[in-house]
Amino acid sequence: MWKSLKESKTGLVGVIVVLLVVFAALTANIIAPYDPTKQDVMNKLMNPVFAGGNFNHILGTDQLGRDVLSRVIYGSRITILVAFFGTILAGVIGTLLGAIAGYYGKWVDAVIMRIVDIQLSFPFVLLALFVAAVLGRSLKNVIIVAAISSWVQYARLVRGEILSVKEMEYIEAIRSVGSKNSRIIIRHIIPNIISPAIVQATLGMARIILMEASLSYLGLGVPLEIPTWGRMLSDGKDFMLSNPWLAILPGIAITITVLGVNLMGDWLRDYLDPKLNV
Amino acid sequence: MDDTILKVENLNVVFNTKYGCAKAVNQANFSLKKGQKLGLVGESGSGKSVISKSIIRLLASPPAQISGKILLEGQNLLELSEKKMEVYRGNKISMIFQEPMVCLNPLFTIGNQMMEVLIKHEKITKKEAKSRSIEMLRTVEIPSPETRMKQYPFELSGGMRQRIMIAMSLLCHPEVLIADEPTTALDVTIQAQIIDLLNNLNRDFGTSIIMITHDLGVIAEMVDTVAVMYCGNIVEKAPVADIFDTPKHPYTEGLLNSIPSMEDSGKDLEAIEGSVPSLYDLPKGCPFRNRCKYVRKVCEYHIPPTVDLGGRSVSCFQYTDQWEVKE
């Protein structure tokens, strides 16, 4: 694995970016120079150090004098939390529903697959907006929204795998020896879906990060006082004339993070599942 | 006067890939006369398909590096620009492939795919192109050709598609037809029909044919001259009767012993010992020496020269002066 990572330069970049963001999220309270919510109106709308600011606030300050660097660092927390738990929840829901659909077949399968179809043709931003609007602003709700908008892929994966395992003749053989169905499915399916599921999860995370940012931008994400990149951007856009960096920096943070996750996902796909690679 | 149509001189094809350098064809020489049927025979990976694809220039370069000369009526095809080469392909020289099931574009009708050849190569109206396509379908013995013209590939069987491929390749009456294992993917009865068809077309149109195959049965039924290939080298070249009666190269001998025959039924078949070396890692000397039952010291150091035996040739030290040198 390590060797493959060293060979793939883009994969290495992706993994490093992801590790950096995770590190920032875990240690935000240690590495951030200021409290991200501390206001300092005397020093508001300061430019970053490379655009005429000073080293007290390396990335400048926002309209309330809050330190942008600290807010970017703390912002990574929500990004990582939502991406991580959203993906896990989506994986759990998807796997369960996919397994039920594949295992029981018939009308259960038909109903679940129709829901999958509907969801696939429905824009997930819209779905997220709708659910967020109904459930209200909270971290828990954003995670639920993330999960609802991405469980479908896992459900299809698991269902497809169960159906193909059901078709195989050796399953009949094992069953005739008296093995239990659930055991058969677990033993034979998990090894087959683990690689594509990891790839799916990684690429799905990139999507979730973008979605969380969009929701925060629209003010429908986590409560407004928690710093998030999407929220910073939407606040910063109103001060484009005095300090454009307020809108530029959080966007760079989002783009780089999503890029890192995508690069890591592409590499994982090549590494875990060479046959998927074109 | 010389009636040679195609002459291949010192053809070398090397593939440069990340796994290394593979010499797929090494110093191939042969020529094809008008109306002649030449068989290129060998196992998969012996370079026979690479030769055929180099002639019509279908090999992507890179990774393939081609050197030597391929002279069609005196014109070296390897020197032509891609644009000029288009004029030759499908017109003076055409090709049929191994898998008729995947050789036709699924989205276009047979008629469309046939007519586009004529429209490309000849100043011709659509109507004329259509009637000539129908006529050619009739020539290759396809029933109700007018209906076929409107059909899509998926509506036709493999044997039918191969006939269509043959019709398509003959539309412009090419000088040379390269047939790359045209019968391998087909049922035995269809195989025989296709071979009959190719023989008839050769007779009627005088088209020279290069038949590429690993099937000695096909060789026996069709061609008049055979070139046997092993690891990118043409190891023996002779009229078809001579190959079967008096094989000179140890590999040819092995090949013939490995096919079952009526007279010897009951006797064990002789497989050639050992396996084909990798093209990325060919041994020094004769490429066949690790499987050859006559191997001597001399075979280890040099690639054997091609020895002319009058009307046939062979690349083996047995037929050189070096064979008897004391070891």
Binding site: D117, I118, V125, L129, L218, K237 | P106, V117
Partner: protein, 307 residues
Amino acid sequence: MGMAKYLGKRFIQSIIAVFGITIIVFIVLNIAGDPVKLMLPDTASYQEIEEMRQKMGYNDPLIVQYLRFLGNALRGDFGTSYKYNEPALQIVLERIPATVTLAVSSMMIALVIGIPAGMISAVKRNSITDTVIRSLALLGQCVPAFWLGIMMMLLFAVKLKWLPTSGFDTWSSLLMPSLTLGVFTAATITRMLRSSMIEILGKEYIDVAKAKGLGRYVIIIKHAFKNALSSVMTVIGLQFSSLLGGAVITETVFAWPGIGRLLVQSIENSDFMVVEIIVIFMAFAIVIINFIVDILYCLINPRIKLQ
């Protein structure tokens, strides 16, 4: 005929999908909040609220309410917007042209960029051009649309003063929003088309086309592209759905007077009747577009057309 049967099946599926969406929307909105409380002043007594509930039919079983909702909807009655105090449908209908303009022009941009880029990238596989196109396409999928929009505003409107920052009057005001919205789709089409073209270019019938002496462009466009398109087509259909979703954000960024922005505003105002119509309308639009894509897919695929 096979095509009619196939399309008939898809049509029934589409109808089921639309019904499914109305049910989901209806249930979620019912969980979401009590519309009666929103309609009456805060000072209303419990009894007043109950009376209103009874009058409006909110105490009926959910299934009765749903059927009534459906019946009204079929007659074009979607209730009244609390915020504007007008028929909700009319408010939404007024905003639809703006969104359609934006979605169509974004799709145009995405196709005009994505198709040639994907083709060039595949044909010149592993060249520098390919690397550049692939990197840009990857970036296009990673950049959040709203940020891209803001960056464009910053550059073209604030710094260079070439284009207006917002508005809905001239084609130049359409340019930035459509670009913003089209970039992600363009990037997706580029990547899909590239991999699909590479797969097709490796097929035997492409070798055959070359052996027939056909020119490079005939091979790429007639033989390869049409085949690649048939597999990319369904993706383009799905892209329309993400385009409509993206419109919500893009319209908010550029203050574009379409239904996306109206949706966000209505959510903020708890104007649920309007939300309901917009969500159903978008779902409907997506289902119809996918159905059209299905028809086109059938038309270029002789297998389905004839079987």
